[in-house]
C-alpha cells in the first residue's frame, strides 16, 4: 500500500549479475549450433551458459512423473539438440546490468534447422504427427480410460441420446501481473543453492531439480516474500531456476532474473487446453441424465512439468454437481509445439466442469427442458451429503438447489426473462440468461498421482506451521504456504488470536516463505484451494500446542492447577483470581533465560517452539479401478448472468452478474468475497477476451498485453454476491478451500450466449467467445449447416 512491498525484482544480492535468456523463435527446430563468442566479447558480460553445457553439468534430466512412453520425455535446464516451442530457452547470459545482458543475448548466434510444427492437440496424437521427443516416439504422454457404472447400457436404454460432436476448452492463463523472477546464488564454499524467488511450490521445485543438479534438499535455501499473483502459473518455472543455478555456479556470482511480459506469455505457463469429442449423453424422458461418455484430448504443450497429473485431477469432479453414475472418459494427454502448461486456476477440474455445464445446457435446449428445472432434477440434493460419487470421491456438504435459487434471485432473472420476451426478435439485440454451476474441489490426495502412474511414491497431503513465543514473549507464526494475496497472514493471525484469546494485532505472522523456518512438508505451497483447511489446520494445531505449553509453565509459575488457568490478552491468569497472573514475557523468560528456576521435568519437555503438521484423513486410492477419495472438500459456486448480444457485431455486454458461493465455515468473509470476485473476473475475461492462439508455424499470436486482452475494469461488470455456509464435516474448522473458484464464470457466460442464440440456434462449442465468434454463431444459426449436435430418441411403443 505504501510501496514498501518486497517483490522479487525489489530484492538482490551484492555482487549479482543480471540474467537474460536466449529463446528460440521457432516452434520446432533442431539446434545446429550455438555461438556465444560475440556475446562473451561484450564488455560487462560475466558468463554465458548453453544447453549442452547445462546438460554436462547435470547428473540426470529433471524428475518426471509420466509412465510408459511419457517417461522417456526428457527435459534439461536449457534446450538440448532441439527446441520444441517458440520461446524454448537455448542459452542464458549473465552480465553487469539488465541492459548489457539483453544486448549480449542478442549477440548469441543460434543456427536452427526448422522442423514440422504440430499445434493441434488432436492431430498431435495421431501416429503420423511430427514427434517432439524422439525418445518417446510419440506425442502421447499418457492415455487411459476412466469407466464408472455402465454408460453403454445407459446409452442403449435411455429414452434419448444427445450426441455432441465437439466441445473445446481454450488455452489461456491467469497471467499474474508480476512475472516470474529469481535471485539464485550457488555458493561454492558451502555448496548451498540460495533461491529467492516467487515460485509458489518451492519444495516441489527442489524435488524436481535437486537430483538433476546434484543438490540435496537440505542444501537448497528457498525463500519468498511478496508474490504478485500466481494462480498456479508460478508453480512450474523450475527449469529457469535450474538454469540460473548452473549459471551462478559457472560465473561464481549470484544470478538475478526478472522475467518480462512477452517472455512470460511465451515461455512461462499456459492453462490446459482440452478438446472433448464424440460426447454422448443418455437422458430419460423425465429429464434424468444417466451419465456422459466422451473422449478428451488434453494439449499440455511441449514439455511435461506438472503433467500428466491433469489426466486424473479432473476425476475429482467426475459427475460435477450432478447425480448421474455412468461416466466414461477416454483421456489422452498430448504434447504439442506450444508453451508447457501448469495448473492454471481451476486446474483440470474447470475444463471438465465446463464440458458438463455445456452438456446440461445443450440437453435442456435440445429436449426442451427448463435449464433451471433440469439442473434441480439432476443436482446432488442437500439430504444426500456426505455424497459418494461414482469414483469414490465424497462430496462433503452443500445445498445446490438453494444456491441456484439464490443466484437467480440475485441476478433478477424473472425481470430479465420478461425483458427478454418483450425484446422479441428483430430488434438487433438479444438477451441471454445463463447458469453456471461448479465445484471447487480442495485439498488433494496426492495418491491420485498413482492412478496416472502406479509407481509414484506419493499419497496424502499436509501442511506445516510453526508457532512460538519469542524471547520477550512475542507470539510468532511461520507458515509453509507461499501466499500471493489470499490473506494467509491475516487469517492465520485471526485463528491464532482466537485460540490464545488475544488481539490479532499482537500476533506476528512472518511474511512469505522461508525454507530455514523448517515449517514445510513436500506438499507445501499455495495451490489447489486448500489453505483454509491445510494451512489453517496446521496453524490451529501449532497454536494449540503452544497454548498448552504456556499453561504448563503458567501452572508452575502461579502454583495453581492447569485447569484453573486461562489465557487473556497476552498473559496466563488464574480464572477466579486474575490478580494472580504471569505475562507471556514472564513465561518466555522462564524457559529461555531462567530455566534453573524450573523443575527439570518441566524444562526438559517444554520449549515454547511448536511445529505441527496437519494431515488430512486420506488413503491410497485403488489404482486398478481408478477410484478413491481424491479430495477432502468441495466448495460450491453457482453464477447466473444476463447478457445482451448485438446482432450486427456479436458484441456481448453483461447486464447482470450474480455469484453465490458456499465454502463451509467462512473464516474471513471479506477475503472469501475477494476470491469470488477475482475468480469471476478472470473467468469472464477468459470467456470473452482472453485466449492464447498459435498459428500453423507455432507462433504465439498474443505475446503481450497488447494482443492478449486481459480484462479491465470496463470489461468486468459489478459482481453481486451472496453466500451459504454448509460446514464441512471433514475439516478441523468446518471451512473448505475455495480460492480457485471452479471456473463458474466461463460456464455461465457460454450458457448465456447459448440462451441468446435460442432454440435451434448454433451450439456454443468453445469456451472462448469473442465478438467475432458470436457473430459467426449468429450467422450459422440462420443457416442450415450441421450444428454438431443430434438427438436420437427411442420409439416408445405400446406396452
Amino acid at each position: 500500500m505504501q510501496g514498501e512491498g518486497s517483490f522479487i525484482d525489489d530484492l538482490g544480492i551484492h555482487g549479482q549479475g543480471y540474467a537474460w535468456f536466449v529463446r528460440s523463435p521457432y516452434a520446432h527446430a533442431r539446434i545446429v549450433s550455438v555461438d556465444v563468442s560475440a556475446a562473451m566479447a561484450l564488455q560487462g558480460v560475466y558468463a554465458v551458459l548453453t544447453g549442452d553445457e547445462a546438460k554436462e553439468m547435470c547428473l540426470v534430466p529433471f524428475v518426471q512423473i509420466a509412465p510408459g512412453d511419457g517417461s522417456r520425455i526428457e527435459e534439461w535446464p536449457l534446450a538440448v539438440d532441439k527446441v520444441r516451442y517458440q520461446g524454448d530457452a537455448v542459452a542464458v547470459v549473465l552480465a553487469d546490468s539488465r541492459d548489457t545482458a539483453r544486448d549480449a543475448a542478442e549477440l548469441v548466434e543460434v543456427e536452427y534447422e526448422p522442423l514440422t510444427v504440430v499445434v493441434d492437440g488432436v492431430e498431435a496424437a495421431e501416429p503420423t504427427a511430427s514427434v517432439l521427443h524422439e525418445k518417446a516416439e510419440t506425442n502421447v504422454a499418457w492415455h487411459g480410460v476412466f469407466d464408472y457404472g455402465d454408460v453403454d447400457f445407459a446409452l442403449e436404454n435411455a429414452d434419448h441420446v444427445v450426441k455432441i460432436d465437439r466441445l473445446h476448452f481454450h488455452r489461456f492463463s491467469s497471467t499474474p501481473l508480476e512475472c516470474n523472477g529469481a535471485v539464485v546464488d550457488w555458493d561454492k564454499g558451502s555448496g548451498v543453492v540460495d533461491v529467492k524467488s516467487n515460485i509458489q511450490m518451492p519444495l516441489f521445485a527442489a524435488m524436481v531439480i535437486g537430483p538433476a543438479l546434484g543438490v540435496p534438499i537440505n542444501k537448497f535455501s528457498f525463500s519468498s516474500r511478496d508474490i504478485g499473483g500466481a494462480f498456479g502459473n508460478k508453480i512450474a518455472f523450475y527449469p529457469q531456476i535450474a538454469a540460473l543455478a548452473l549459471l551462478s555456479k559457472k560465473a561464481g556470482r549470484p544470478a538475478k532474473w526478472t522475467e518480462y511480459r512477452t517472455e512470460h506469455m511465451l515461455s512461462s505457463t499456459h492453462g490446459n487446453e482440452r478438446t472433448f469429442l464424440d460426447i454422448e449423453v443418455p437422458v430419460m424422458a423425465d429429464g434424468t441424465i444417466l451419465g456422459v461418455k466422451a473422449r478428451a484430448v488434453d494439449d499440455v504443450g511441449a514439455y511435461l512439468h506438472y503433467e500428466p497429473l491433469g489426466a486424473v485431477i479432473w476425476s475429482q469432479v467426475t459427475a460435477g454437481c450432478y447425480k448421474f453414475k455412468n461416466v466414461q472418459i477416454d483421456f489422452t494427454s498430448v504434447v504439442t509445439n506450444k508453451c508447457p502448461v501448469a495448473p492454471n486456476r481451476g486446474y483440470s477440474r474447470m475444463q471438465h466442469l465446463w464440458m458438463l455445464e455445456r452438456v446440461i445446457d445443450i440437453v435442456a435446449h435440445e429436449l426442451d427442458f427448463d435449464p433451471v428445472e433440469l439442473r434441480k432434477t439432476n443436482f446432488v440434493q442437500p439430504e444426500d451429503y456426505p455424497y459418494l460419487t461414482p469414483n469414490g470421491c465424497v462430496y462433503d456438504s452443500g445445498n445446490l438447489p438453494l444456491a441456484l435459487d439464490m443466484a437467480l434471485e440475485l441476478a433478477d432473472v424473472d425481470a430479465w426473462r420478461r425483458r427478454q420476451k418483450e425484446l422479441g426478435t428483430g430488434t438487433g439485440k438479444r438477451i441471454g440468461i445463463g447458469i453456471g454451476s461448479t465445484l471447487d474441489s480442495g485439498t488433494n490426495n496426492f495418491g491420485q498421482a498413482r492412478i496416472m502412474n502406479p509407481d509414484l511414491p506419493f499419497s496424502g497431503n499436509g501442511e506445516a506451521a510453526f508457532a512460538k513465543l519469542d524471547l520477550y514473549g512475542e507470539v510468532n507464526i511461520n507458515l509453509g504456504t507461499t501466499p500471493q494475496g489470499q490473506s494467509h497472514e491475516t487469517t492465520s493471525a485471526q485463528v491464532a488470536a482466537d485460540i490464545l484469546n488475544m488481539s490479532p494485532d499482537d500476533v506476528t505472522v512472518t511474511i512469505g516463505f522461508d525454507q530455514a523456518h523448517n515449517s514445510f512438508v513436500g506438499f507445501s505451497g499455495t495451490y489447489a484451494s486448500q489453505f483454509a483447511v491445510t494451512g489453517l489446520g496446521a496453524v490451529m494445531g501449532a497454536v494449540a500446542k503452544l497454548r498448552d505449553e504456556i499453561l504448563e509453565v503458567g501452572a508452575f509459575a502461579l502454583q495453581a492447577p492447569k485447569d484453573d488457568l486461562e489465557l487473556r490478552n497476552g498473559a496466563c491468569v488464574v480464572k477466579d483470581d486474575p490478580s494472580r497472573s504471569i505475562p507471556f514475557i514472564g513465561i518466555a523468560n522462564l524457559i529461555y533465560t531462567n530455566n534453573a528456576v524450573l523443575p527439570r521435568e518441566l524444562s526438559a519437555k517444554i520449549d515454547l517452539n511448536c511445529r505441527y503438521v496437519y494431515v488430512p484423513p486420506f488413503e491410497v486410492p485403488d489404482v486398478e479401478r481408478k477410484m478413491g477419495n481424491l479430495t477432502l472438500t468441495y466448495a460450491i459456486q453457482i453464477h447466473v448472468c444476463v447478457v445482451e448480444i448485438d446482432e450486427e457485431t456479436g458484441v456481448v455486454e453483461i447486464l447482470s452478474y450474480a455469484a453465490i458461493d458456499d465454502c463451509g465455515k467462512r473464516i474471513n468473509p471479506q477475503v472469501v468475497e475477494g476470491q469470488v470476485h477475482g475468480a469471476a473476473g478472470l473467468g469472464i475475461a477468459a470467456a470473452l477476451y482472453e485466449s492464447f492462439e498459435y498459428d500453423e508455424d507455432g507462433q504465439l499470436q498474443e505475446p503481450s498485453f497488447y494482443e492478449y486482452h486481459a480484462g479491465t475494469a470496463m470489461d468486468i461488470p459489478d459482481i453481486r454476491t451472496g453466500n451459504i455456509e454448509s460446514p464441512s464435516p471433514f475439516t478441523p474448522n468446518g471451512a473448505k478451500g475455495m480460492g480457485e473458484g471452479g471456473g463458474a464464470a466461463l460456464h455461465t457466460i457460454c450458457n448465456a450466449i447459448q440462451d441468446a442464440l435460442g432454440k435451434d440456434g448454433a451450439v456454443v462449442f468453445d469456451s472462448h467467445n469473442t465478438w467475432e465468434r458470436v457473430y459467426e454463431l449468429l450467422q450459422s444459426s440462420q443457416g442450415s449447416e450441421p450444428r454438431g449436435v443430434r438427438v436420437i430418441s427411442r420409439e416408445v411403443g405400446p406396452a
Binding site: 512491498g5 525489489d10 560487462g44 511480459r261 470476485h677 473476473g681 498485453f705 475494469a713 468486468i716 453466500n723
Partner: protein, 173 residues
C-alpha cells in the same frame, strides 16, 4: 555500460525531494525510479504500456513511467506511491483500500492508487462508470475490480457499486 551509450544528467523532484543523477539515454523512467533511486513501489507488469502497474503522476498528469525515458523527465515534478502516506499514516484513499479489501497480492496497487489519486483530483465525486473508466488503464488479476471501485468510491463519498445492495446471506445448519 555499453560503449555507445550516451548519458545525461537529470534533475527530478520526487515526492518533494530533489534528485540529481546521471542516466543512460535509453533508461526507462520506471527503471530510473526503481533501480537508480530504490523507489521500488512503482512496479513493472508488462512491456507494452498496457498494464498501468508503473503509473505515476508527473507534472500533474497520470503517466505510465515505462513509456517515458528518464532523460524526458528532466525538470519534472513527480509523485509516486511512496509519497502518499504522510508521516507513516495512510492517506484517506489508502485507508479506503485497506478497509474495503481493495488489494490482494498488492502488485497493481501502487498504480491503482496513483490512478485513483489523479481521478479524484479531476473529479471529486465520480460515478461508478467514471471510476471504471478512470482505472481502465490499470490491470488487476486478483480482485475482479469490484473492491477497487468500491475503495475509490468510498473515499469520494459516493455510493458503492450495486453489490452493496445485492448482498444476500444464509446460514445452513
Amino acid at each position: 555500460m555499453t560503449e555507445q551509450g550516451t548519458t545525461h544528467v537529470i534533475e527530478v523532484t520526487i515526492n518533494g525531494q530533489l534528485y540529481s543523477r546521471t542516466v543512460e539515454a535509453r533508461q526507462l523512467l520506471v527503471h530510473f525510479l526503481r533501480d537508480t533511486l530504490d523507489l521500488t513501489g512503482t512496479h513493472i507488469g508488462c512491456d507494452t504500456g498496457s498494464c498501468g502497474a508503473c503509473s505515476i503522476i508527473l507534472n500533474g498528469k497520470l503517466v505510465k513511467s515505462c513509456m517515458m525515458l528518464a532523460p524526458q523527465a528532466d525538470g519534472a515534478v513527480i509523485e509516486t506511491v511512496e509519497g502518499l502516506a504522510q508521516n507513516g499514516e495512510l492517506n484517506p484513499l489508502q485507508e479506503s483500500f485497506s478497509r474495503n479489501h481493495g488489494l490482494q497480492c498488492g502488485y497493481c496497487t501502487p498504480g491503482m492508487l496513483m490512478a485513483g489519486t489523479y481521478l479524484l483530483r479531476e473529479n471529486s465525486n465520480p460515478t461508478e462508470e467514471e471510476v471504471r473508466r478512470g482505472i481502465k488503464g490499470n490491470i488487476c488479476r486478483c480482485t475482479g475490480y469490484v473492491n477497487i471501485v468500491q475503495s475509490i468510491m468510498d473515499v469520494a463519498g459516493g455510493h458503492g457499486p450495486e453489490q452493496a445492495e445485492g448482498m444476500v446471506g444464509e446460514e445452513q445448519r
